[in-house]
């Protein structure tokens, strides 16, 4: 049952070294190197902002937050989530040499791959926060919530990869299935628009079921709303829903990992 925890025991240094390798692999041989980790999301975000502000003429503010500020604080955590979902699912197949050529704690593959993405996220947070502060949203005590939501986000998607990575390693169909979900996931979540403002009786609850919304809202609470997450409308309920989903994802992850682990070397 707790195979995954056993595999991580006493392996901190190994995991950190492999996370570094993963970063090097991603950005090697480019003049800008890790700079691309910043350039790429900044450019994409600019395109989205352009489409909203200039294209849809839907600039102005979201609530009382300027559109760009709103998008930025949503897109930066989303950028991690997107990488975590995609590269998390691919991680075992991409590192198959560890699985088929040596005795390897396979579940640590997901950990070091996602850690490397977390490093990128933390690097991205530096210019993001610089902009946020310069634009007048100075840090308050609420900003400390970052140290709750950032680890929560990491752990949630790590546990999700316990299911998706072995399944994707087993069958490429599953990996393609995940790839094709991504765009939908992005636009159905409140990254670019305000999920808290949807009308109706049922729709707001559907929005609250989406863990991406909970995490993105947490980031905004920390840096632009300057509110505690439980002070948000239905904040406590949303947190409890997320907690429940987290437990479910963890249980499914352990189940799927344990059931597929020993079959992996034979199919990769």
């Amino acid at each position: 049952m707790f195979e995954i925890f056993k595999e991580h025991h006493h392996r901190t240094k190994q995991i950190l070294l492999l996370a570094r390798t993963e970063l090097l692999k991603t950005y090697k041989g480019a003049f800008l190197g890790t700079g691309w980790a910043v350039v790429k999301p900044v450019f994409t975000l600019f395109v989205y902002w352009f489409a909203f502000e200039i294209g849809f003429r839907a600039g102005g503010t979201v609530g009382d937050v300027p559109r760009f500020m709103f998008m930025l604080t949503g897109y930066v955590p989303w950028y991690f989530m997107q990488d975590a979902i995609l590269f998390g699912a691919r991680s075992i197949r991409a590192n198959r040499q560890f699985v088929i050529k040596m005795a390897f704690p396979v579940s640590t593959i997901m950990t070091f791959v996602l850690l490397s993405k977390l490093f990128v996220h933390l690097g991205l947070m530096v210019p993001t926060l610089a902009y946020v502060f310069i634009a007048g949203y100075l840090p308050t005590l609420h900003s400390l919530q970052f140290f709750l939501f950032m680890p929560l986000m990491f752990i949630f998607f790590l546990m999700l990869s316990w299911s998706t990575a072995p399944m994707s390693a087993f069958s490429l169909d599953f990996e393609n299935f995940i790839n094709s979900l991504m765009t939908g996931l992005f636009w159905l979540s409140g990254v670019m628009w305000d999920a808290g403002a949807v009308g109706g009786r049922i729709m707001p609850w559907i929005m609250r079921l989406n863990p991406i919304n909970f995490l993105v809202d947490g980031y905004r609470c920390a840096f632009v709303y300057h509110q505690w997450f439980w002070e948000r409308p239905y904040g406590v309920a949303s947190a409890l829903i997320f907690l429940g989903e987290m437990i479910l994802v963890a249980a499914l992850g352990m189940f799927n990992y344990n059931r597929l682990r020993k079959r992996l070397p034979d199919v990769l």
Binding site: H10, R11, K13, Q14, L17, L18, R20, T21, L24, K25, K28, Q97, F98, V99, I100, K101, M102, A103, F104, M167, F170, S171, L172, D173, F174, L260, K262, P265, D266, V267
Partner: protein, 250 residues
């Protein structure tokens, strides 16, 4: 007391125990079958039995040869000892640090330097930082890579990579050494150095599992041999006998 006297060299607990071990590979005919196998394991799929109820015990300090034709199950057996693959039936127990001279360059990260790779591979083999520090100099010297050790491994020639891989594997003080006869590391001089090192380890009491097609090499190194045929253990014991059996059925 009597028991112990009967086999004085086998007074210890076995380091490797196979209890009725079978390995059945599922052969997926297409991607659809493999996808569906994610959700339930159909009984109708084609199977290949690579190992068939193999039981064996290997004791500390033994040098055991595994002989058999292609497809006899030698690789599968080795992969189970090294912990890469898992039995579908029965039980495998391995005590002690296993070092496999099979995939010498497996686990290297080409973006890291040679020195960093010593650490990486050391961690992978279950050593801690202090233990790796201790062997670091020996590894560098053995691999003859003094000038290049702080360069990224991607700049190494294949011979250099092999040398580094061999040097790490052999210097981690393994308790069980798994060797494939097809192993070749660089030029003749280095190969001789490797052979000498392997012999030194054997003298030092390491347990050796040696896989080979060649009768000579097995007779040379091993004190016991196991003959496998189509996944079954046919013979286990005297080296000459096993080699003769293998030769007779070729």
């Amino acid at each position: 007391m009597l028991e112990a006297q009967k086999s004085p060299c086998r007074s210890d607990e076995p380091v490797i125990v196979f209890k009725n071990v079978s390995k059945v590979y599922t052969l997926y005919r297409n991607n659809k079958e493999q996808f569906l196998a994610l959700f339930h394991q159909s009984k109708k799929l084609r199977k290949h039995r690579a190992l068939d109820h193999v039981s064996l015990e290997i004791y500390p300090g033994e040098s055991v040869g595994i002989v058999g034709n292609n497809g006899a199950g030698k690789s599968t057996l080795l992969k189970m000892i090294t912990g890469v693959t898992f039995p579908t039936g029965g039980e495998v127990n391995v005590r002690g640090r296993v070092s496999a001279l099979l995939e010498l360059t497996a686990g290297f990260s080409t973006e890291l330097t040679g020195r960093e790779n010593i650490y990486l591979k050391g961690y992978l083999l279950g050593l801690n930082e202090d233990q790796i520090k201790e062997i670091e100099a020996d590894v560098v010297a053995f691999a003859e890579l003094e000038d290049y050790i702080d360069q990224p491994v991607r700049t190494y020639s294949s011979g250099m990579k092999m040398r580094l891989g061999f040097a790490i594997n052999i210097n981690t003080n393994p308790e069980i050494l798994v060797i494939d006869e097809a192993l070749s590391v660089g030029d003749a001089t280095f190969q001789r150095k490797c052979n000498a090192k392997i012999r030194e380890l054997i003298k030092g009491g390491v347990t050796v599992i040696f896989v080979s097609h060649a009768a000579g090499a097995v007779k040379d190194i091993c004190t016991r041999a196991i003959y496998l045929k189509r996944g079954r253990k046919i013979y286990d014991g005297n080296v000459d006998e096993a080699v003769a059996l293998h030769g007779a059925t070729k």
